[in-house]
Amino acid sequence: MGQVELMNISKSYDKQKNVLNEINLSIEEGEFFVLVGPSGSGKSTLLRMIAGLEDITAGTLKISDQVVNHLPPKDRNLSMVFQNYALYPHLTVEQNILFGLRAKKVQKEEQQLRLTETAAMLGLSSLLKRKPKELSGGQRQRVALARSIVSHSPLCLMDEPLSNLDAKLRANMRVEIRRLQKKLGLTMVYVTHDQVEAMTMGDRIMVLNDGKIQQVGKPITLYNEPANVFVASFIGSPKMNMGKANFSSDMKQLVIEHEPHIDIDPATVSKRLKEASITIGIRAEHIFPGTPDNTTHHVEVVNVEHLGNETTIAFEIASDLWTAKWPGQWAINVGDNVPVSITGEYLCFFDTESGDLIRPAMAGKSQEVIAI
């Protein structure tokens, strides 16, 4: 049974258009579940509805098999970490951590026990007497985590907890939060707008846009088989290259807006593909450097980024800017004409009208996931 279950959950303010539309979802016990989406997608609202900070307009919310729609936040047995940490500025770290336990009148000895345990776990033992303003951003973040952990609630909600940290610290905290969650067996619902965070942390991810679920699944599934154009462009960095395409009359080639032609094996073209107007997508790492054998196209480079371990080059395909990502260092300059290999088996096909995926890349998967 799911630890958190959302059945036809909707949210609207003042009878206006729905902010969230018929959300159905079940989050397993002990799962690290990430809600990801652009700002305004409704992901924070959804989290706050689970927490009980926002009214549920319609639908049923169950936590641990209990309907909790009508329960105030304190009776839902959960903890929450806020984006701005919500530390009480006038209280010390210790008082901040114990705040909830004192409000719930937990026994004094029990409080101390949990405090020392949690503080040790997060490396806060030497900071207990400090005030929040005397702490660094990362330390504040730890206090916020400690406050959530010390409550021993099985369900932990996090609302963009890392967005106020600098990039390096963020990478560290990602690992740390993930480790804590696994160690304590917490069920985690984690909201972020950062797809890297979602990919690296989540057991499962839900992509939300405009109040509607776009896709729910494992990170790799979302990457390899994006359910629609939105997920395809949202997940992955650089984003998936896309373009509107047509089959040539002999079905052997794809034409991207009149110009580049991509060879395709007619045997793989299904009936549905033939009938739809299609948008194709290809990951940057699937556009390979051209060798004398496999070069399919020559492209004019408009931008190069040397990252040391890899090189990304940007070039124009029809009206879009596409990116290719190659491992290693390549001596390429802007304006160069570079041979590349773009082949049919790496293409994802989407229906242009609905945006839905028709067929994922055939080669991508088998190559990407390497079992050890």
Binding site: D55, T60, V67, N69, H70
Partner: protein, 314 residues
Amino acid sequence: MSMNSVAIRSHESMELIFEQAKKRQRMKSWIKGMLFLLPSIVLFGVFLFYPLLRTIYLSFFLTDASGETTVFVGWQNYMNIFTSPIFLQSMKSTFLFVLYTVPITVFISLFLAIIANEKLKGTGFFRTIFSSSMGISVAAASVFWLYLFNPTMGVLNRILEFFGMDAIGWLTNPDWALLAVSVTTIWMNIGFTFLILLGGLQSIDSYLYESADIDGAGYFYKLRRITIPMLSPTLFFVVTVTIINAFQTFGQIDILTQGGPQNETNLIVYSIYREAFVNYQFGSASAQAVVLFILILLMTALQFKFGERKVHYQ
């Protein structure tokens, strides 16, 4: 089939429970909100709104000495006060008093705020001195100036004497009394006005001045083009507050002149006070109070209306 209908029914009953819970929640938060506001609401009701309505009510009656209404007279009280030379004199004095005090108070305070806002050593000391009159009560300030205006011993007449001029009966000469009271009032009000204007000056972003410095703007150019426009909301606020305060002047009149000479300084609040608590004419006093209320209402309405639109906010 039957399973399904049970599910539907339970679903409906769930909805009902949620609705009730929501209603209860709303009721609870309403009660909670009211509890937080109740003390203020009750006191406003008893000591502000009810007295206001009662004042309006009383203004249509004659009363006995204890304030009980005796005869309904309609608009008679209003007609009486607007034909009474004493009240008309009082209105005239009140407006003159506003005219004398407000511009000068604001101008001096602005000058003081500007020179005290420079980054110089020791400005803290000067700020404290400039704001000091805020800590001096009406009674004390009036006593200070009562001595300064004293016809024989007062410093002002001694200075006149020194220059060989005739002594002036500052508080007894009808030509001078209102001016004397105005000077006292200006001196008293500078402290508060100065503090507010200084606060306004300090909230102006220093980047504006720095970028003006880079452009090579001079001191007075910056004053005219940055300081005054950026300060305009504060200035507007200060002007209206000073006007309202001037309408409410009482203490300095009571100590310095008691409304004399020849009612020259019988400002409206003093006039109300005399009519009500010396002559026990509560009806006519209430009519005057209603006039005062309308005057101040107009001022505040003006402040709310134009305060936001016509004045440049940052």
